[in-house]
């Protein structure tokens, strides 16, 4: 199967703040919420990014400045060309009566779910107010900051249990830093509520052959990135360790 990166144009940029930009791509892709694209900058590198939604022009990805690659990506101008392949990964199983809980740029992965279930409560946390994304897209999201610079001071997991109880949710969708995933999965497990979390691991091929995203006995790029909470609780590496680019274990 031919699966090389194909070149697409950035047709629009939505600048959320200094470090976060949504790139609207001239690419109509059939995808399911939770899936990701490998984005290639020729001559530089290729990295996985969640599909953050779509409109009539095509799909979009939201990029947070973290290293050299994402730093370059957020600076790209409208009209620039990038390479994409995908969509890859096991998506979210869709259940309507749900709650969405996101940490940081993890909200990008959950945004297509939130677009589908407009009544679902969104609990969204950032380290600081200036990192916030999608303020106009999801204006009713409950916002938390670690430093208290906006919204409620604390973490979105602080209120998860009460939201689940109030709303009687059937499913919690989660994406964010791994300690937050661990906390969310445990809360849902204790309450007997379904939970699906999207995980992040260093990826090379994105298609299940290189083994770089190994987590326990599964590959995050193929068996994930979305896992059921109970699968994660049984995974010995969940919340513990990840492989870096050399294949060395690092704490998460």
């Amino acid at each position: 199967m031919k699966d090389l990166p194909r070149t697409v144009k950035i047709i629009k940029r939505t600048v959320h703040n200094n470090d976060n930009v949504t790139l609207h791509l001239d690419a109509h892709i059939s995808y399911s919420p939770g899936q990701f694209l490998m984005i290639w900058l020729p001559g530089l590198n290729e990295k996985p990014f969640s599909i953050a939604g779509h409109d009539s022009d095509g799909v979009m990805v939201t990029v947070r400045r973290r290293g050299a690659f994402s730093g370059r990506l957020v600076e790209l101008k409208e009209g620039s060309l990038i390479g994409i392949r995908g969509p890859y990964g096991r998506p979210f199983k869709l259940v309507g009566n749900c709650c969405i809980i996101a940490g940081g740029i993890g909200l990008a992965c959950l945004a297509p779910v939130a677009d589908l279930y407009k009544d679902a409560p969104i609990l969204y946390g950032e380290d600081r107010a200036s990192s916030r994304i999608y303020q106009e897209r999801f204006p009713s999201a409950s916002f938390y900051t670690t430093d208290g610079s906006a919204g409620k001071k604390g973490f979105p997991t602080d209120d998860l249990e009460s939201v689940i109880r109030e709303r009687g949710c059937d499913m919690v969708y989660c994406c964010g830093p791994e300690p937050m995933l661990v906390k969310t999965v445990r809360i849902c497990n204790a309450l007997g509520v379904g939970c699906q979390a999207s995980m992040e691991r260093y990826m090379k091929c994105g298609t299940g052959v290189c083994g770089q995203c190994a987590c326990g006995q599964v590959r995050v790029c193929v068996e994930g990135t979305v896992f059921q909470g109970n699968e994660l609780l049984q995974n010995p590496d969940f919340g513990r360790r990840r492989l870096d680019a050399s294949g060395t274990w690092r704490p998460v």
Binding site: M1, K2, D3, L4, P5, T7, M38, W40, P42, G43, L44, N45, E46, K47, L81, G83, K204, C205, T207, G208, V209, C210, G211, Q212, A214, G216, Q217, V218, R219, P236, D237, L243, A245, S246, G247, T248, W249
Partner: protein
Amino acid sequence: MPVNPDLSVDLFNCKLKNPTILASGILGTTRDLLKTVSLNGAGAVTIKSISKEPRYGHPNPTVLSFGPGLINAVGYSNPGIEKASEEFCELDQVGCPVIGSLIGTTAEEFIYVASIMDKMGFAALEVPLSCPHTPGYGKMGNQDNPEEVSRIVTAICSASTKPLFVKLPPLASAGNLIEMALAAKESGAYGITASNTIGPGMLIDIDSAKPYLGFGIGGISGPALKPLAIATVFELYKAVDMPIIGTGGVSTGRDAVEMIMAGATAVGVGTAVLSRGMSAFRDIADEIKEILSLRGANNLSEVRGLAHR
């Protein structure tokens, strides 16, 4: 007609339940993933190659599917032997024999890594001397000639008593293939893995006018490699009396039987993990069994080398 042909293979003092062996570089990053491969029916598994020091490899893209196969330039990323010896412990948990793959640039490095691997639970070792895309190693390290093969195999065998497979390039890219295999044998190697990917290969994105691979050039595996690998095994079988792990484009039972008829003792499976998923090993084994059954063959030795008769 035999209903239930025996697929087992006697290799490096082990009995493999079937001839499929996970090829090095595919999924062999952790013991837990090897366990998954074993649960999916592999007869044996090979870890991703380990060097003395950690290596981060080439930038992405490192592995791409281009249609008739994969092109890759991973660049031997690995955690180094110290971390690898922690990871690949208690290998009996894997559920099938595990082959330890090692790489190096100097005799000292090979000896260092081999002496540690010798104490680990590997059933055998493998040394690739044919990588087409990593400076210092294989083709780009001038290791693909009989003199270097001899020197490196001698070094490894001085540090480890485990059966050693030498992974050689396809015949199409190595005029001295037979000389390399003979040098390996004379220096103490147990078997040959043939073949490695063929390369260097390159694919260019015409929009950016840049090679797709981060490193530019890479090695080609999968169906595109298969005829080259079959011919390699065929020639090796004629010239050298050693077990051969026939590797290159084996994705069906038919491919595997072809490889075995060319003379392979067992078959490496790599790229098929992409085309057929994790169950490739069990599926290929089932298909081999069906083919043997239809041929009225009781076991693999009845078809091994058949193309030479």
